[in-house]
């Protein structure tokens, strides 16, 4: 049975890896970066939303916001546990960054990450009240959905499995956002929502920024990426348009 095949060749043919011990060093680094990005983004997202729970106009809204905070933290934990299997100190990790910290709302961040953590750059912008929070949750939730689609296919099976469990929960958060916005539209907040969309859309977009072709090919050969950022971004834009259309916010 012992036919020799390199891990690289195995991966390029769609093979899956199942634990840290058989992960090559460079693959490991890229995989951990992806996992850290997910964990940090969930923790930062949850922390940001925790601050707006009390801004919710009614009990239903506050329940929805609190649920999102709980579940995003839970989802972070699911992947943080995998980071722990690579030797990360999970207890220290979860508390080592100021997850609630944000930069001024008019900062020029682009796709740069902050100095201290791997959260997606957009999560360094602060939320500005309830309408803004719900709008951001829709824009960002749809974008995260695109990335979770990618992550469900990654060649590191424990991560793909974890994301498969997490994805329906995150999808539900997007539904909550759209339901919340529908109520806000009824309350005559359409203009405020449109202003928020105009703020958030270009700030979420850099998530789908260009990855140098060579690097993307490397990641694809390792089974860590499948669809290009261009494809993911286009798909996200189309979904967001559809959602805004349903909410009658496009005009």
């Amino acid at each position: 049975m012992a036919e020799d095949m390199s891990i690289e060749s195995y991966l390029s043919q769609g093979g899956k890896l199942s634990n840290p011990t058989n992960v090559p060093p460079r693959y490991r680094a890229e995989l951990m970066k992806m996992m850290a990005t997910f964990v940090d983004s969930e923790l930062a997202g949850a922390a940001g939303f925790a601050d707006v729970i009390n801004a919710g106009p009614g009990i239903k809204e506050r329940i929805a916001a609190a649920k999102i905070v709980l579940e995003k933290t839970d989802n972070a934990d699911a992947v943080l546990r995998l980071l722990g299997e690579f030797g990360a100190d999970t207890a220290r990790y979860a508390t080592s960054h100021p997850w609630t910290s944000r930069l001024p709302r008019d900062s020029e961040i682009g796709s740069r990450r902050s100095e201290h953590d791997m959260r997606l750059s957009v999560l360094n912008y602060p939320l500005d009240g309830w309408v803004d929070a719900v709008t951001m949750n829709l824009c960002m939730g749809l974008a995260v959905g695109q990335q979770l689609g990618e992550l469900q296919q990654v060649s590191y099976q424990p991560l793909a499995d974890a994301i498969r469990r997490v994805a329906p929960i995150e999808t539900r958060h997007v539904e909550l956002a759209e339901e919340g916005l529908a109520r806000l539209v009824e309350q005559g907040q359409s203009d405020a929502i449109k202003a928020s969309v105009a703020y958030w859309r270009p700030r979420v977009e850099p998530m789908f920024g260009d990855v140098p072709q060579e690097r993307f090919e490397q990641l694809r050969n390792w089974g860590l990426r499948h669809r290009s950022n261009g494809e993911l971004g286009a798909s996200w834009n189309a979904q967001l348009d559809k959602s805004l259309d349903r909410l009658d916010l496009t005009a």
Partner: protein
């Protein structure tokens, strides 16, 4: 953080000529309550080099026993030692059970499982099979077990006993590469083609809920392709790539370039929380690991150069940072490095975690 705990070896039993089943008992702490299909990672020093090896647990969850199967690999230091020298009463160090090569069990369900094992890939599959048949009384398990010949079949007798114990619920198909069998189908390699033939004549693939595959890379690829072709999706196919083809996690060799200092060691000084400590460290060790080893509580999180928690500033000397996914160029220019990725180049290095 993953920690190692001592385990006492209570039994070492040969299952075939070059494989042993090792029974273990936790000696001092650690939660070794495992889930079927998980593995243990052991560490041991060989000639001053720490080797880490992972071996799957072969016991069932309800066996009340911690047992791993270790097959001797050509040139494999750990597996050779385990097969030749390991004795009851010895102590092994292992991390708590890890791995996600399993699906949750539910006694009320009647499911059909399909397992593929190649050679010593049987160990986690055996654990899954035994645990599942016991925990889900209405479920069935079909095992396709690939080996070179009859005398390399690990757990052959145990599988026969299990077939009798779970009559009608456990099916074992041995596929042998070099020994001819009565049925041609059961001779040769388990690849996509062989799977397709098995699915035509022996296994009703449309009824399978979950498939487990553990074996060498080409075998896993072939089986996975066949399963997908026959309608299973990724969530239904569980893989465990066992460590046969793994290179050892050997220490990084010091690269000899013209500029490096002549000594193999470096005089290091590390400042943390206002106090400086000095020690001698090997050049093939990272600054972070050396600091931790010298009881300095240096900050770190991912140890993969991705989180920048371990950032420090080099004040004197030079280090080589082998990976960096976190620091911006301007930070590097200012002398910041990721200590978890940095190896000393000069004979003296001074770093500061406080800046």
């Amino acid at each position: 953080m993953a920690r190692f705990h001592p385990l006492t070896v209570t039994d070492v039993r040969k299952t075939i000529r070059d494989a042993v089943v090792v029974s273990l008992q936790p000696a001092d702490g650690g939660d070794f309550d495992f889930t079927q299909g998980q593995y243990l990672t052991f560490r041991r020093e060989f000639d001053g080099t720490e080797l880490r090896r992972s071996y799957s647990i072969c016991a069932a969850r309800s066996d009340g026993l911690l047992q791993v199967g270790i097959k001797k690999v050509d040139g494999g230091a750990f597996s050779t030692w385990a097969n030749e020298d390991l004795q009851p009463g010895d102590t092994l160090e292992a991390m708590e059970p890890m791995g996600s090569f399993f699906t949750p069990l539910d006694p009320t369900q009647a499911r059909n499982y399909l397992g593929f094992a190649g050679g010593s890939g049987i160990t986690p599959v055996l654990s899954i099979l035994k645990t599942t048949l016991r925990a889900e009384p209405r479920s069935t398990f079909t095992l396709v077990y690939a080996n070179r010949g009859v005398n390399t079949i690990m757990f052959r007798e145990e599988l026969e006993d299990l077939k009798n114990e779970y009559m009608g619920r456990l099916t074992v198909i041995h596929v042998l590469e070099s020994d001819a069998q009565d049925i041609d189908l059961f001779t040769g390699r388990v690849d996509a083609e062989k799977c397709a033939a098995l699915f035509r004549h022996w296994i009703d693939i449309t009824t399978i809920d979950t498939a487990f595959i553990c074996g060498p890379e080409p075998m896993m690829l072939g089986i996975a392709a066949a399963l997908r072709e026959h309608g299973l999706d990724d969530a239904q196919i569980k893989f465990e790539l066992f460590a046969s083809a793994q290179p050892g996690r050997l220490k990084r060799k010091a690269t000899a370039t013209g500029d490096t200092g002549s000594a193999k060691t470096t005089e290091a000084s590390v400042t943390l929380d206002g106090s400086a400590r000095s020690f001698t460290m090997d050049k093939d060790q990272t600054v972070l690991d050396a600091a931790l080893e010298n009881a300095i509580d240096a900050p770190y999180a991912c140890k993969a150069g991705v989180c920048s928690t371990c950032r420090c500033k080099v004040l004197e000397g030079e280090v080589e940072m082998v990976a960096n996914h976190a620091l911006e160029d301007y930070e590097v220019q200012r002398g910041y490095v990721l200590s978890c990725q940095s190896f000393p180049v000069t004979d003296r290095v001074v770093v500061d975690f406080d800046q």
